[in-house]
C-alpha cells in the first residue's frame, strides 16, 4: 500500500472527487473539493496499491479555529473503494490524519459527523477514542440523525467554551 499526500495536480483532483462522489450518498459540488484540497492539501491523504496506480481510498480534512478558543481538526470525507474495505486502510488514514493534526497544528480536538446508522464508520472512529458528543436531529437530507464525534486531545477540549480564553489571531 502506498499512502501519500495529495499532489495538487488536476489529475489527482479528478480521481479523488470521482472516488468520493461514487461512494458517498450526498453529492458535493466542485467547490467543496476545492475548498478542502486547496486550503489544506496536507490533510488530504490518498492510498493506492503497490503495483496498481488506481486510487483506492482517500481522507479529506481541515483544521480551523472553533469559536475562537480551540483549534479543531475536522474530518470531512473518508472513502475506501468497496473492493478494498476491511483491510485496515481507513483506520490507517484516520490515524495518519490524527498524527499530522497533532504534529503540524497541535490541535485540541478532532471532530466529525456521521450518520447514526453508519455502524462501520462509528466502530472505526470510536475504537480510536472518538466520543459521541451530540445527536443531531435529521442532519442528513434523507432524514437520518447524525452523531457528532470528538476525539479529545488537549485539556482545552474538555472545558466549556465560555471558560476558555480567546485564541486571537
Amino acid at each position: 500500500m502506498n499512502f501519500s499526500t495529495f499532489n495538487q495536480t488536476a489529475e489527482e483532483f479528478e480521481e479523488i472527487s470521482a472516488l468520493i462522489s461514487s461512494h458517498l450518498s450526498e453529492p458535493y459540488s466542485i467547490y467543496v473539493y476545492w475548498f478542502f484540497l486547496n486550503t489544506w492539501p496536507e490533510y488530504c491523504i490518498t492510498v493506492r496499491l503497490e503495483n496498481d496506480p488506481k486510487l483506492v481510498g482517500v481522507i479529506i480534512s481541515k483544521v480551523e479555529k472553533h469559536r475562537d478558543v480551540r483549534l479543531r481538526g475536522y474530518i470531512g470525507m473518508l472513502v475506501i473503494d468497496p473492493v478494498h474495505r476491511g483491510k485496515g486502510l481507513a483506520s490507517k488514514l484516520v490515524e495518519m490524519t490524527i498524527e499530522r493534526m497533532i504534529q503540524i497544528d497541535n490541535v485540541d480536538e478532532i471532530s466529525l459527523e456521521t450518520e447514526v446508522i453508519n455502524k462501520g464508520a462509528l466502530k472505526l472512529y470510536e475504537s480510536l477514542g472518538f466520543m459521541r458528543t451530540k445527536r443531531l436531529y435529521r442532519y442528513y437530507l434523507n432524514t437520518h440523525d447524525a452523531f457528532r464525534l470528538i476525539l479529545p486531545i488537549t485539556e482545552k477540549s474538555m472545558k466549556r467554551v465560555a471558560f476558555l480564553p480567546a485564541l486571537g489571531t
Binding site: S29, Y31, V32, R135, Y137, L141, L151, I153, M158, R160
Partner: protein
C-alpha cells in the same frame, strides 16, 4: 478553457430576448483570466454549507438546468388548465395530502408539494401579480397553450372551480405552516422552508379561501343529480372538508384558558379537529385508491428546472401513502388531545407535570412537527401570556407559582410591604436587585418552557446551555438572599437554628440538580454513551440524585415546616405579646387568613415533595447505584474492564473521555464535578478483593439495591394511582407520569433477572470465576430497554 466554451455553446442559450438577457460570456472569460492557479474565488457570504449544496453547471447531479434532458415531453409541456375528471381530481388531492405529510417528514417543498404543476402554476401566477387577488390565481400557465382542451362541462367546472379551490386552500395552509416554522422551528432539522421564491398567498384573506372551498362543496352537491358517480363526488367533498378544517386550525391561537379557574369546555370550539379525525377514519380511509388516475406529467421535477433554485437537483420524495394517512390523522388528533388536556389543567402542579410528561417527553419523531411548533405558539403568546390568559398569567407569574409549588410559598422576601422599614434609596436598591433576580428567573423559565416542544436532540443541547444560567443564578440568588438577611433581616428564619431560609436559591439549586440529572439520563435516550461510559454516568447520577433527595428532605422540608410552625405557634405568640387594639386585631385577622388559605397549601406541597418528588429521586438514586454495583460485579468476573476505554486509544485516554463527557458540568460550582479518580475509587474495584466471598457479597448487595429501587417505584405507582391522594397534582386522563414510573419498575425487574442470571453462572461453575473470567467467552450488549433512560445491558455469550 476551450472545453468550457464548447460546453457553453452546447447549452445553446437562447438569447432572442436581449431585453431580459445580457450576454456575459466575454466578461466571464476576461475575469477568469485574472484568477491564479490554486485560488478559490468566493463571496464572503458563501460558506461551506452553501457550498455543499451549490449548483455546479454541467454536472448532471448538481446542475438543475440539465433537468431539461431528464424530464419527459409530457412533464415539460404539462398544461394545468386542462379539464379534469372526478377520479383524477381525487387522485391529485390524495397525492397532495401525501406530499404534504412528506414535506412535514423532513423533506423540502420543491421535491414534494411544489413538484405538483397545479400548485406551481397557481403560486407563480399569484407571486407575479400586483393585485394579489383571488382571481389572478388561475391554473393557466401563459407559456403553455393547448388548442383543443377537450373535456365536458363538468370536468371544466372541476378544474376551474374545485381544483382551484383545493390548491388555494392547500397553499394557504402551507403558508401558515411556513409561518409557524420560521418563527418556532429549527430550519432543516424540523422543517425546511425553502420556497423557490414563491409567495404562499400571504396577502390573500383566509376567509375568501375558505369561502372558495365552501362554494366548491356547495356547487358539487348542487350538480350531484347531473353528474357521474355519487361515491366519487362524496369522496371529493370529504377531501375538501378536510382541507377546510385544516385551514381552521389557525383559530386555536385565539383560544384562551385560565389555569386555576374553571374554564368553559373548549370541546365545541375545537370540534373540527375531532370531526376531521372522524372523516378521515370512516370516510377517506386511504390515500392510495385513486392513484392510477393521476394525470400524467402533473407531478415532476419541473419546478426545479423552471424556477429560481439555489439548490442542487434533488429526487422527488414521497412517504408511503399509509404512513402519510396515519400522519394526517395524527396531526389532528395530537393537536386535539394536547388542547383538550391543556384546557383541563386546574393548578400549576398539573401544569408542570403536563408539560413535562405529556409534552416535553413526547417530542419524538412520531409527534407531528407542525403540531409541535403550533403548540408552542399556543402555549406562550406574543405578549408572553400563558395559553392566552387574559387575566395576567404570564411567564413571570407562572415562574412564581412554580416556585411556590416547591418551597417559596408565603416567603417573606416576596412580600415587599412586609419588609422592615428601610430608607428609600436603600429600599430602592434592594428592589432593583430583586427585580433583576426575578427577571433572570423569568428568562430561564421561558427558556425551559419554550424548549418543551423542541425535538429531543435539540432539547438536550438547550438544557445544557441553560445549565450555565441556573448555575450563575444560584450564586447570584444566594448572595442576594444572604445580603438582605444579614443587613436588613429581610427573609424568613428557619425554626430552631436561627439560620436564614434562602428559599429562592434552594429553588434554583433544586432545578439545577434535576436538570443535571436529566441531561445525563438523556444521553442514554439519544444513544450517546458507549458501554464503558454507562457506569460513570449512572454513578454520577446516583450522586446527584442523592443530593437532590437531601435537599428536598433537608432544607426544603425544613423551610416549609418552619413556615407552618411560624404561621401557627410563632404568630400566635407574637399576637399574645401585643397590646389589645387595632394592630392586634389586624394580626389576628391575618393569621386567620393564613391558616385557612396558606397552611393547607403548604401541606399540599409537603405531601407532594414527600410522596412524589423525594420518592422519585430516591428511586433514581437506588436504581443507578444498583447499576453501578452491577458493573463492578461485571468487572470482577471480567466481562468488562472498567478501567479500559476504547480499544485503540493511543491518542486519548479513558480519563480524557470522562472529562470530555462531563464537560457540560465542569464549570458548575456546587456540586463540583467529581474527578476521574473519584470515580475509580467509587466503583471499588480494588483487585486485591477478588475473592469468591467478596464477589458474593457484592452480588447480594446488588440484588438488594435493585429490590429496594423496585419497591420505591412500586410505592410511587401506588401514590399516583390513588387518585384521592394524587389527583390534585396530576391531570386526570394523562398517563405520562404513570407510564414513566411503570417503565422504571419494569427496568428494576429486568435487572433483577439479569443479575440473578449472572449469579447462576457463577454458581454452576465450580471454579466460580474461571469461566466468566475468560474474557473472550462473554460480552456486553446494549439494547433498547423498557425506559428511555435505561437501555438493557445484557451479558451475552460471544458467538
Amino acid at each position: 478553457m476551450n472545453n468550457i466554451k464548447d460546453g457553453l455553446d452546447d447549452l445553446n442559450l437562447n438569447l432572442k430576448d436581449p431585453d431580459n438577457y445580457v450576454d456575459i460570456t466575454d466578461l466571464l472569460f476576461a475575469s477568469v483570466k485574472s484568477i491564479e492557479n490554486h485560488q478559490v474565488v468566493k463571496s464572503k457570504y458563501f460558506d461551506l454549507l452553501e457550498g455543499t449544496r451549490a449548483v455546479e453547471t454541467d454536472n448532471i447531479r448538481l446542475d438543475t438546468g440539465m433537468l431539461r434532458y431528464e424530464l419527459s415531453e409530457e412533464e415539460l409541456a404539462f398544461d394545468p388548465s386542462l379539464p379534469i375528471s372526478v377520479k383524477s381530481m381525487i387522485a391529485v388531492m390524495d397525492k397532495l395530502y401525501t406530499l404534504l405529510m412528506s414535506w412535514l417528514n423532513n423533506s423540502s417543498l420543491p421535491v414534494t408539494i411544489l413538484s405538483c404543476r397545479y400548485v406551481q402554476t397557481i403560486l407563480q401566477n399569484y407571486t407575479a401579480s400586483v393585485t394579489k387577488s383571488i382571481d389572478i390565481c388561475s391554473l393557466s400557465d401563459p407559456r403553455i397553450r393547448t388548442e383543443n382542451k377537450g373535456g365536458n362541462e363538468f370536468e371544466k367546472f372541476l378544474s376551474e372551480k374545485v381544483l382551484k379551490a383545493f390548491i388555494l386552500g392547500l397553499c394557504k395552509y402551507v403558508g401558515f405552516v411556513l409561518g409557524v416554522g420560521t418563527s418556532i422551528l429549527y430550519e432543516e432539522e424540523d422543517l425546511t422552508t425553502r420556497n423557490m421564491d414563491l409567495d404562499f398567498l400571504s396577502q390573500l384573506d383566509k376567509k375568501s379561501v375558505l369561502e372558495e372551498i365552501r362554494s366548491a362543496i356547495f356547487l358539487i352537491n348542487d350538480k350531484k343529480d347531473s353528474a357521474g358517480n355519487l361515491i366519487d363526488l362524496d369522496n371529493l367533498i370529504y377531501r375538501l372538508e378536510i382541507l377546510h378544517k385544516m385551514n381552521e386550525i389557525e383559530s386555536i391561537l385565539k383560544l384562551s384558558f385560565e389555569i386555576e379557574q374553571t374554564t368553559y369546555s373548549i370541546k365545541p370550539t375545537i370540534a373540527f379537529l375531532d370531526e376531521s379525525v372522524y372523516i378521515l377514519q370512516t370516510q377517506i380511509k386511504s390515500l392510495s385508491n385513486y392513484r392510477s388516475y393521476i394525470p400524467p406529467g402533473s407531478f415532476s421535477k419541473f419546478v426545479q428546472l423552471d424556477l429560481n433554485n439555489k439548490s442542487i437537483t434533488t429526487e422527488l420524495y414521497e412517504l408511503d401513502t399509509t404512513e402519510s394517512f396515519n400522519n394526517l390523522v395524527n396531526m389532528f388528533s395530537q393537536l386535539n388531545e394536547s388542547l383538550l388536556k391543556s384546557s383541563e389543567i386546574s393548578n400549576y402542579y398539573q401544569f408542570q407535570n403536563f408539560i413535562q410528561y405529556e409534552i416535553t417527553n413526547n417530542m419524538n419523531s412520531t409527534f407531528n412537527v407542525f403540531v409541535r411548533g403550533l403548540f408552542q405558539l399556543f402555549l406562550i403568546r406574543d405578549n408572553k401570556a400563558i395559553m392566552g390568559s387574559t387575566r395576567g398569567e404570564n411567564i413571570l407569574t407562572v415562574t412564581q407559582k412554580m416556585m411556590e409549588n416547591l418551597n417559596t410559598i408565603d416567603s417573606q422576601i416576596f412580600d415587599v410591604n412586609g419588609w422592615p422599614d428601610l430608607k428609600e434609596p436603600i429600599k430602592q436598591d434592594i428592589l432593583n436587585k430583586f427585580d433583576q433576580l426575578l427577571n433572570d428567573l423569568e428568562s430561564i423559565s421561558y427558556h425551559t418552557l419554550s424548549n418543551s416542544t423542541n425535538n429531543r436532540c435539540r432539547q438536550r443541547q438547550l438544557m445544557s446551555r441553560g445549565l450555565l444560567v441556573w448555575d450563575t443564578l444560584q450564586v447570584a440568588s444566594e448572595n442576594f438572599e444572604l445580603e438582605v438577611w444579614e443587613n436588613f433581616r429581610i427573609g424568613d428564619e428557619l425554626e430552631g437554628n436561627n439560620q436564614p431560609s434562602l428559599p429562592i436559591s434552594s429553588y434554583i439549586y433544586y432545578n439545577k440538580l434535576s436538570l443535571m440529572i436529566d441531561i445525563l439520563f438523556r444521553g442514554f435516550e439519544l444513544d450517546l454513551y458507549k458501554i464503558f461510559e454507562a457506569p460513570q454516568i449512572y454513578w454520577y447520577i446516583s450522586y446527584l440524585s442523592q443530593l437532590a433527595l437531601e435537599l428536598l428532605q433537608g432544607r426544603i422540608r425544613h423551610q416549609l415546616e418552619s413556615k407552618v410552625q411560624y404561621l401557627t405557634t410563632g404568630l400566635s405568640k407574637k399576637i399574645k405579646k401585643l397590646k389589645a387594639g387595632d394592630k392586634k386585631e389586624k394580626m389576628k385577622k391575618l393569621q386567620q387568613e393564613k391558616l385557612t388559605h396558606v397552611v393547607p397549601k403548604i401541606n399540599l406541597t409537603i405531601q407532594y415533595n414527600e410522596n412524589y418528588l423525594s420518592k422519585l429521586f430516591e428511586g433514581y438514586f437506588r436504581i443507578t447505584d444498583a447499576i453501578k454495583i452491577y458493573f463492578s460485579l461485571l468487572h470482577f468476573v471480567k466481562v468488562i474492564d472498567l478501567l479500559k476505554g476504547p480499544p485503540k486509544s493511543k491518542y486519548t485516554s479513558l480519563e480524557n473521555i470522562y472529562n470530555l463527557r462531563m464537560k457540560p458540568f465542569s464549570s458548575i460550582g456546587v456540586p463540583s464535578l467529581p474527578t476521574f479518580e473519584h470515580y475509580k475509587s467509587a466503583i471499588e474495584i480494588n483487585e486485591t478483593n477478588v475473592t469468591k466471598e467478596n464477589v458474593r457479597k457484592i452480588y447480594s448487595h446488588c440484588l438488594d439495591e435493585f429490590n429496594e429501587a423496585k419497591n420505591i417505584f412500586r410505592d410511587l405507582l401506588e401514590f399516583i394511582e390513588n387518585k384521592k391522594l394524587s389527583g390534585y397534582y396530576f391531570l386526570d386522563g394523562c398517563s405520562g407520569n404513570e407510564e414513566w414510573i411503570k417503565a422504571l419498575k419494569k427496568t428494576c425487574i429486568h435487572y433483577l433477572v439479569e443479575v440473578k442470571k449472572l449469579g447462576k453462572m457463577l454458581d454452576e461453575d465450580n471454579a466460580a470465576l474461571t469461566t466468566a473470567n475468560d474474557k473472550k467467552k462473554y460480552d456486553l450488549e446494549l439494547e433498547t430497554g423498557f425506559h428511555i433512560y435505561f437501555p438493557k445491558i445484557t451479558v451475552r455469550e460471544r458467538s
